[in-house]
Symmetry: C2
DNA sequence: TACCCCAACGTTACCGGTAAACCTGACAAA
DNA sequence: TTTGTCAGGTTTACCGGTAACGTTGGGGTA
């Protein structure tokens, strides 16, 4: 049914090896031979078998594994897109997985993916189980950790510092006269990166002599609803806040919606700040004060670092992709 | 460096085949042998080689390919999530790609993925190039077409009818007194499914004797900005519309934002209807009238259909996953 | 006692590519 | 004429699993 190199070789009157060389665009055959082989391959509907190729020689795998925290995250959709575009152009295939912010699930995923002997791996975050790190080192293939920058990566790292995002936003809001800050987040234990932003934010206020007043962290997906009800809860406990920092833009927009429904004026009565740079945040009633993350650029940079390493080029271990605080009309 | 079955076999004093059987949890060995083999495997840090396994026997591949229109789409993020959860639990790996609404790009992707001899494929939409269909048939592996229902699938189909979505929304708006309808879309040529919704919508109004007045289709990503400016353009051409149907919720929210900025009252002056069921749409200032698509359920159903087929169970060719028109406060 | 059967293994062939080494004839230079 | 070189091939071995089948020894049964 399915043709293989040998079928083509027989039909074209050459050896298997010659067919292999022709189809991979190598050298060592005449033009005449090439056209004949190509025609036969076309005629028989030959489809290259990467399984056999990758298995037979350990150089040829074009598989790249990538693990993100959640596939439903709008931000990671863009990162995936950046990676896919950069890799796809070069003939690599992307194998994906989600770890739901759990290092243990990440380890399970890595174990699965390693068994396909991928050319490289892209992981999100810098917290991995010891077993994961052991697997990665033994596998020997290049690894890029993205999103959360680390100065001592397993191999390579592309991203930014979440703590700095929080600090920068805290300092910005302090400069604009905010003194009584609150925080609304979600998935406290799970999302270490959101926690890092919160820590950076708190630190900025503490150092300025205005420690953060209160925080509300829901055990829920960090979406619009969580932002809406999180702010409701927070304000019911503490009416004197003058600014609230949200885990991300979706939640901040939920918070904005809550303010609107209760007649709380933004930014006069309450400042609102998000994080992430959702497209929606830029056009909604009031432009949201937030930190824009260059998601696609991170994906692209990660893919390019991986490919460069695969080609044996020198790659710097740590690539910083800067975020940008965008002052809006809400804080 | 890396241990293989033979290394384990030597160390444990058994044959390669026995090790293989033990590690796959089969039969034909004593308990004593099993513990010994397991210990040695653990000690040597053995990692199963799926490449070799899938290559050696054509039964064993646990690779599933999935192609979506755009990785940045919020809706498809949820579909991916549904697929990944259902497949991951069963030990399958997901290989993804994006076709940017282009059958040609889809064909290129299928060609790449087929060369990995995947256990199955999940494609989005029902429009494929003849070469794609040919490849799929030759490959012989199960194929699920999702999102856009077809009555004559290549193999299996899971989804709903986009035309019906449009028709249903048209009829709903007609029942609520709307007579002069407009449409704002994006990526006209590329997105055949959006076009189907528009066609269904137009037909509903035509049949009722109130043909659609005007439409604006931007050659841009179907996001907030496109909705905002698309509505601006449409209304500048035609001030007497009493309802506008948008390509999707993101665009509808952009349209809402435009109305708010110009003091156009919704729904009194103008009705707004979207499609898709973004979480944001449900909580924003006014709850958006839209069609909610059960994204995760579609992903789950597709994965389950695929797995059932792989297990040789009988699977119905076409699975309808119903959408739900949600009346909001905007139309 | 002879025979069969079965658990618990071992042997062999094979999947479809690729790397590496080898071959061959034509032509040029010594 | 001999030798070297090179284009244009061919041959062989091998990757690491798995399927299919062969083997062996001990116990039950006729």
């Amino acid at each position: 049914m399915k043709a293989n190199l040998e079928d083509i070789a027989r039909e074209a009157g050459v050896s298997k090896m010659t067919v292999s060389r022709v189809l991979r665009g190598g050298q060592g055959f005449s033009n005449e031979t090439r056209t004949r082989v190509m025609q036969v391959a076309e005629k028989l509907g030959y489809v290259h078998n990467k399984l056999a190729a990758a298995f037979g020689s350990d150089q040829a795998s074009t598989l790249v594994g990538m693990c993100v925290p959640r596939l439903t995250s709008g931000l990671f959709g863009h990162v995936l897109d950046g990676v896919d575009r950069a890799l796809g152009r070069l003939g690599y295939q992307l194998m994906i997985g989600a770890n739901n912010h759990s290092p243990q699930e990440e380890e399970d995923w890595v174990r699965q993916v390693i068994s396909w002997r991928p050319a490289g791996l892209i992981l999100s975050g810098r917290h991995h189980t010891p077993a994961t790190i052991d697997l990665l080192r033994k596998a020997g293939s290049p690894v890029v950790e993205i999103w959360d920058l680390t100065t001592s990566p397993v191999d390579m790292s592309v991203g930014f510092s979440h703590a700095d995002c929080g600090t920068e936003m805290g300092q910005y809001l302090l400069r604009h006269g905010r003194r009584r800050a609150g925080y609304v987040g979600a998935l406290a234990r799970a999302d270490v990166m959101g926690q890092a932003r919160r820590d950076g934010f708190e630190q900025a206020f503490s150092r300025a002599g205005h420690p953060m007043v209160d925080a509300e962290v829901l055990h829920d997906a960090p979406g619009f609803y969580a932002g809406y009800y999180g702010l409701e809860t927070l304000l019911s406990r503490c009416r004197t806040l003058d600014v609230v920092y949200f885990h991300n833009d979706e939640m901040a927009i939920g918070g904005l919606a809550f303010c609107q429904s209760r007649g709380i004026r933004v930014p006069e009565d309450l400042g609102i700040a998000g994080w992430g740079g959702m497209e929606a945040a830029a056009i909604l009633p009031r432009r949201l004060t937030t930190t824009v993350v260059p998601t696609t650029a991170i994906g692209k940079a990660a893919a390019e670092a991986l490919v460069a390493r695969l080609k044996g080029e020198h790659v710097q271990d740590v690539t910083v992709v800067p975020t940008r605080l965008v002052p809006g009309e809400t804080g």
